[in-house]
């Protein structure tokens, strides 16, 4: 084996400092690199990991020069870290359709604290590059393309709902035996402002209003379907539970129509329908609301492609 002689030669220094049989004597020698090499190393790390600690940038005397060059490249520097700008990281995360809870925004980023992440998120909202919406109790950052209700509409909805609640107050008394005519309740609910922006030409029904005829064109129905999928999407999982989609569309579309739409969209590779593989958690109603899948499965989850 001719290569043996080559290999048997002294070990290469690439693995570390010069070989020594004593651990104590093997102190690391400082590696002599010039500024450009330190900057190149930092750029490589930033490219790979998105951030680098200031302490790891290089020898202390060179650090401010390295930081200066990295800033010129467009990187952001804090007291302890140099990183890809947080706003850019947030924009990238939102680009994938991710919903980012404001409280945990820092877990979607690297090299930033919770406070910095929150500040960057609110900056994006101010610049109109993202929306901040309330989902259950948590403030969530969503992409600028998400279908949101504007602040004015929220204000008028609050006014109408508060008035509605006031009118229903007498019925809440334990001594009261009165109720409402269904048509009167409907009339009250119809006063709630539209949930759709008028310029998109969608339905102008109020929250909880009576079923209207199903949208006529298939494109329009698909738009409704995708809006329902978006609205019911689990933020962390990135999937929408099909029974929730069906229920959300129920006033406008019956189950069969929704199933047909889902299957059609899947065939056109606009969305992916996934079989249920949970531990027998579907109720009888859920089972009815999920279209049947191959080999006896139920398609209980949907994902936009």
């Amino acid at each position: 084996m001719r290569a043996c002689s080559l290999i048997s030669a002294a070990l290469s220094p690439t693995m570390g400092p010069p070989v020594s049989t004593s651990r104590k004597s093997a102190a690391r020698k400082p590696v002599a690199l010039d500024l450009s090499e330190w900057v190149a190393r930092a750029r490589h790390t930033l490219h790979e990991q998105g951030f680098i600690k200031v302490a790891a940038l290089g020898p202390r005397p060179l650090r401010s020069a390295i930081i200066g060059q990295l800033r010129a490249d467009g990187f952001e520097a804090s007291k302890s870290t140099v990183r890809r700008p947080l706003a850019e990281q947030l924009r990238d995360a939102l680009k994938n359709g991710t919903f980012i809870p404001l409280k945990t925004a820092h877990t979607f980023l690297v090299g930033g604290t919770a406070l910095e992440a929150k500040k960057a998120a609110l900056d994006l909202v101010r610049k109109g590059q993202a929306h901040l919406v309330l989902r259950t109790k948590s403030e969530t950052l969503v992409p600028p393309t998400a279908d949101v209700v504007d602040r004015e509409e929220v204000r008028s909805a609050r006014v109408v709902l508060a008035a509605l609640l006031k009118r229903l107050q007498p019925l809440a008394k334990p001594t009261s035996q009165a109720t409402l005519l269904r048509s009167d309740l409907q009339a009250l609910l119809d006063e709630v402002p539209s949930t759709k922006p008028p310029h998109r030409g969608a339905s102008t029904r109020g929250i909880g209003s009576a079923p209207k005829p199903a949208p006529a064109s298939s494109d329009e129905r698909l738009r409704h379907l995708f809006a329902a999928i978006e609205a019911t999407r689990d933020e962390r999982l990135g999937l929408s539970f099909v029974p929730n989609v069906v229920r959300r569309l129920a006033p406008d579309m019956d189950v069969e129509t929704t199933h047909a739409l889902l299957l059609d969209a899947s065939r056109r590779e606009l969305l992916e329908l996934r079989p249920e593989s949970g531990l027998g958690r579907l109720s009888q109603q859920d089972l009815r609301d999920c279209p049947p899948g191959p080999q006896g499965t139920r398609l209980s989850w949907a994902r936009r492609l």
Binding site: C4, L11, P17, Q49, E272, E276, G293
Partner: protein, 665 residues
């Protein structure tokens, strides 16, 4: 006309042959590959900054989670060390368990190289400034050196590693680096010691140790292993089927314990790539919500949701499989017709496993049948329903036999290494068994106690000790503690029949007798068949939880359906261990207390003893028992002794433990 992969509906993480469509879920495998590369790069260039990475891969059953493990093994070969861990259900997973699994799987072959050779070889390669792609070459080169030069080279490499990370455990690493250059029985003993396993006296001597790896060494050992490997072949630990940790009856303590373990690994052990795999929906509904914020921030670093194959990918996948089929009468799309192929490629919710099942059916039934229907006709009459149920039961019976065969294989492997099964495996088996014995209920499990499992039987409590230790001293110590327990509680001691005490262990036998003098104590020699059933039951139930058990048509069966079949078909209540735990008299008791085997058992072993003696001439009684039990699982030590007694005129004894056939017989 069959091909191996048609039978392999469930991916085997250690399968040798492999069919893969690289574009399918490439982003997930690329992300893991990138993490491995990053760990190696940081270990080489900035050792102080070395950390562990944690990725989560989620997907529905059959989407290809376990397949990813095989893909990475095939793609990276010896450039990483792969460890596949299915979670323990009965016992909490500890760092010792993880260390045990990592070192055990270092002995596995991946990419034609034993993983421990890949680890050491890639370190040698890097130390010599070469690529880590051909580690075997460097191991062989070093093996050819004279012992002094080899020791010097290994010492230099060790010294370099210690210069990088001074906190590494020097003596642990020294033993690890020497493994590829040791002869076979010694390297096995050293690997067993490195894994934290308790060794018998002979193995300890081979390993050059005086005692097993202490508890205080376990975490430093893990750190040393992970950091050292990260320079050459980083260790990738894959926790698969995590949904098995979900317990609907109890608090989610097992999940929390798992999260704590992995969090500790991420924090304290540097240089690992941890990959968690689970059913997508269960991760978000049950698994992640049971983690606290600190755990979530560490374990949720990166998450990858596996997608289902697109129509194009489905066609490519089917074509790939069909191309591998031997003796095809026609070209693709055979065995499908155009219509059926279109349905398979266009139908929503199709996973790769479903496609494979459809292909298997089409190959079995032919293209005409495949084209005529979509293979999913609903039963129409009562007779159809009954036939359907029968076929499902047959499929479950076949699945059971597969798990039983795997369990027997494992038991043989363990018997060859002259050791007992790992107690956690047996514990999981016992807990699975208890689900089908209404009179018994598990109270708790603690590996550190002499009787690890506590079981409630009515108002009484039974303490079950799995006596797995190989060394007579630790067995003696455990027996002494059990004598104390037996004063106040009922104790059942379980020891595998294949690892009974040699007759020369006088002190151990005396302690055993002292224990059995207590009315509360009972001894059960676990026969090979009984142990195999426990292991198979546990594996089958875990597979059912992960939606990996299918009926004759490939449809996934619910966990409840599988449990119902076990209940109806396996008669778990009549298993020897179940009888013993209920305090009933077992067949074994009857045979052993009468001092002679039952006539039926004698008939079963008749001829086998003579044949084994003729073949092997001179052997120990223990070996003879093992040989016979391997062939005839109903044979017992008592029945073999009885037959030896009946052959007194043809056999001779040396003391009480060696037996041989007379020359003139």
């Amino acid at each position: 006309m069959t091909a191996w992969f048609l039978e392999a509906v469930h991916a085997n993480p250690w399968g040798v042959d492999f069919v893969d469509l690289p574009t399918l879920n490439a982003s997930a495998s690329d992300a893991i590959e990138t993490a491995i590369r990053n760990v190696r790069e940081v270990a080489r260039t900035k050792p102080a900054a070395l950390r562990s990475a944690c990725l989560t891969v989620l997907g529905p059953a059959g989407a290809g989670k376990t397949h990813l493990f095989g893909r990475l093994r095939a793609r990276l070969g010896p450039r990483a060390v792969f460890v596949h861990i299915r979670p323990l259900v009965g016992t909490e997973m500890t760092p010792r368990f993880v260390l045990h699994e990592i070192v055990r799987q270092l002995g596995f072959v991946s990419g034609d190289v034993r993983q421990v050779d890949a680890l050491v070889g890639s370190l040698l390669a890097h130390a010599m400034g070469s690529s880590a792609g051909f580690p075997r070459f460097f191991v062989e080169d070093t093996a050819h050196l004279d012992p002094t030069a080899r020791a010097e080279r290994l010492e230099q490499m060790l010294s370099q590693l210690l210069d990088r990370w001074q906190e590494l455990d020097e003596s642990y690493l020294r033993r690890l680096l020497a493994v590829p250059f040791q002869k076979s029985p010694t390297d096995r003993a050293v690997l067993a010691w490195l894994s934290g396993r308790e060794l018998d006296a002979v193995q300890l001597e081979r390993a050059g140790a005086t005692a097993a790896l202490g508890e205080e060494i376990v975490v430093p050992a893990l750190k040393s292993l992970a950091s050292a490997a990260s320079v050459g072949a980083p260790i990738v630990v894959v926790f698969d089927q995590l949904e098995n940790l979900i317990d609907r009856d109890l608090e989610s303590s097992r999940l929390f314990a798992y999260a704590q373990l992995t969090t500790d690994l991420v924090d304290a052990v540097h240089g690992l790539v941890i990959v968690q795999m689970a059913l997508d929906t269960e991760w978000d509904r049950s698994i992640e919500p049971s983690f606290n914020l600190a755990q979530r921030s560490r374990l949720g670093m990166q998450r990858h949701l596996l997608g289902l194959p697109t129509p194009k990918e489905r066609e490519d996948l089917l074509r790939l499989w069909v191309d591998r089929l031997p003796d095809k009468p026609q070209r693709f799309p055979w065995p499908f017709g155009e219509r059926r192929l279109g349905v398979l490629c266009g139908e929503a919710g199709m996973t790769p496993r479903m496609l494979l099942i459809a292909l298997r059916q089409a190959v079995d039934e032919g293209p005409a049948a495949s084209e005529a229907g979509d293979g999913e006709s609903e039963p129409e009459s009562v007779a159809d329903v009954t036939e359907e149920a029968d076929r499902t039961n047959d499929a479950l019976g076949a699945t059971w036999n597969e798990y039983l065969a795997n369990a027997r294989e494992l038991l043989d492997e363990v018997a060859d290494q002259k050791r007992c099964l790992d107690p956690w495996r047996l514990t999981d088996g016992i807990l699975s068994m208890l689900r089908f014995v209404p009179a018994l209920k598990a109270v708790d499990v603690r590996a550190s106690r002499p009787a690890q499992v506590r079981i409630a039987r009515g108002s009484k409590e039974v303490h079950v000790s799995l006596l797995h230790q190989p060394h007579h001293k630790s067995i003696g110590a455990t027996l002494t503690k059990l004598i104390e327990v037996a004063r106040s509680h009922e104790v059942v001691v379980v020891r595998e029949r294949a690892q009974e005490f040699p007759p020369t262990w006088n002190d151990t036998l005396a302690r055993r007798s002292a224990l059995l003098r207590h009315q509360n104590a009972r001894w059960l020699s676990l026969e090979r068949g009984d142990a195999a059933r426990l292991l198979a039951l546990d594996e089958m139930l875990k597979a059912a939880r992960s939606r990996d058990v299918t009926d004759h048509a490939g449809r996934t069966l619910e966990e409840e359906d599988v449990s119902a079949w076990v209940h109806a078909s396996l008669d778990v209540g009549s298993w020897t261990l179940s009888q013993a735990l209920r305090g009933e008299r077992t067949v074994q008791d009857a045979a052993e207390t009468s001092g002679a085997a039952a006539p039926a058992a004698v008939r079963q072993t008749s001829g086998l003893v003579l044949s084994a003696l003729t073949r092997l001439r001179l052997l120990s009684l223990e070996r003879l028992v093992r040989e016979i039990v391997r062939v005839e699982r109903s044979a017992t030590r008592a029945s073999i002794l009885s037959e030896l007694a009946s052959l007194a005129h043809r056999v001779r004894w040396v003391g009480k433990s060696i037996v041989y056939l007379r020359e003139d017989s």
